[in-house]
Symmetry: C2
Subunit: 210 residues, 2 copies
């Protein structure tokens, strides 16, 4: 989604005039088309100054204060993020995700209490994204330190996500660390009726004894 | 819509911490729930600094440079807005709307070439909005000058919009200016099947000879 949004007007410059410029910027946000952008513009014109300036300032601070955690590369205000500093979390298991938002989703589920590693993308030759542009070298450095017992590859269940996991498993294989990937099958709460052939194939292939 | 959005957390203060603060501000925008806000946050964290700072600056400028046109009250950067300054537009017809977004909608349709007047709301005793809080006094001043031949009341076709028009027609009636309101009936392109009883009543009442 964010890729399509970015592509919306990737090669254009923001307009000079103020109102078209606000609309242009709002329209680049993910999921915001021209109509939503206009609705937001009118909301912002009506809203109290403190509120709009608060939004503007928080966005500015976001770019000025947030950088990558030195350990897991997740966005943070500190040198080392709160997840990596949490003494209750197990540093010997690393869950590798494509994006910070994937980390947020997994962590909110509350079932994983290890550390993370954010790749910032997936290998995608068609988009010109090579392994060097991701944080793979940094992940290798972390594993080379010898304290990591298991790496869980939690890339997205897509062609490119799978390709990235395959690449990682071959690169990390030489360190003797256990490498796993997330299970694939039927999504809980769904109905067989709506399962596509790939979901069914995964569910059959990964079947387990009762 | 903007009213509901504003009501979301009208009595809370923005959080101290940066990330929750950005989410809080984004979540106040119309049509943006917690999930969309999080998607935007991650988009903004990924986006180049220039882009996010461009958005922040345009929002700041919006509050600093936009004020109400001295004549029609529409938001503008100048003392008098471009619509009021346009010599091709007819200043003897004023179209009265609730919000700047209504003005934009009507003007985009391209069928009205007169001037506008923005009320900034509608009379709503339940929400504590009285005629004094709208720009009605200013509208009376404009009509008192004697150059206005017709006032088109283009408030929304709702209970409160109709009430506001009724109030305006009684207040403005004494100036001898022609006062009209927008026609009501079936929306073009719709189907009778989906017309509700009020739409049908309006269509019957307003029927015209062939």
């Amino acid at each position: 989604m964010s890729r399509t949004s970015r592509a919306k007007n990737a090669f254009t410059e923001p307009p000079e005039e103020l109102i078209p410029r606000v609309l242009w910027h709002l329209g680049r946000l993910p999921g915001i088309g021209p109509k939503s952008a206009e609705r937001m513009l009118h909301f912002l014109m009506d809203a109290p100054s403190t509120e709009v300036l608060g939004l503007a300032d928080s966005l500015r601070e976001l770019k000025e204060r947030i950088h990558r955690c030195r350990q897991c590369c997740a966005p943070t205000e500190e040198a080392i993020c709160s997840l990596c500093r949490d003494p209750k979390r197990d540093p010997s298991i690393i869950c590798v995700v494509e994006h910070p938002r994937d980390l947020a989703v997994i962590d909110r589920a509350g079932r994983f209490r290890g550390h993370y590693h954010v790749l910032y993308g997936r290998i995608s030759p068609l988009d010109g994204i090579t392994p060097e542009q991701l944080t793979i070298d940094h992940l290798i450095d972390r594993i080379r330190q010898g304290t990591v017992k298991e790496v869980i590859l939690a890339t997205n269940p897509t062609l490119e996500g799978d390709g990235t996991s395959l690449y990682l498993s071959s690169v990390l294989g030489s360190f003797g660390t256990k490498i796993t990937r997330l299970a694939r099958g039927l999504p809980a709460g769904s109905s067989l009726e709506f399962a596509n052939s790939q979901m069914l194939a995964d569910a059959l292939e990964g079947r387990r004894e009762f």
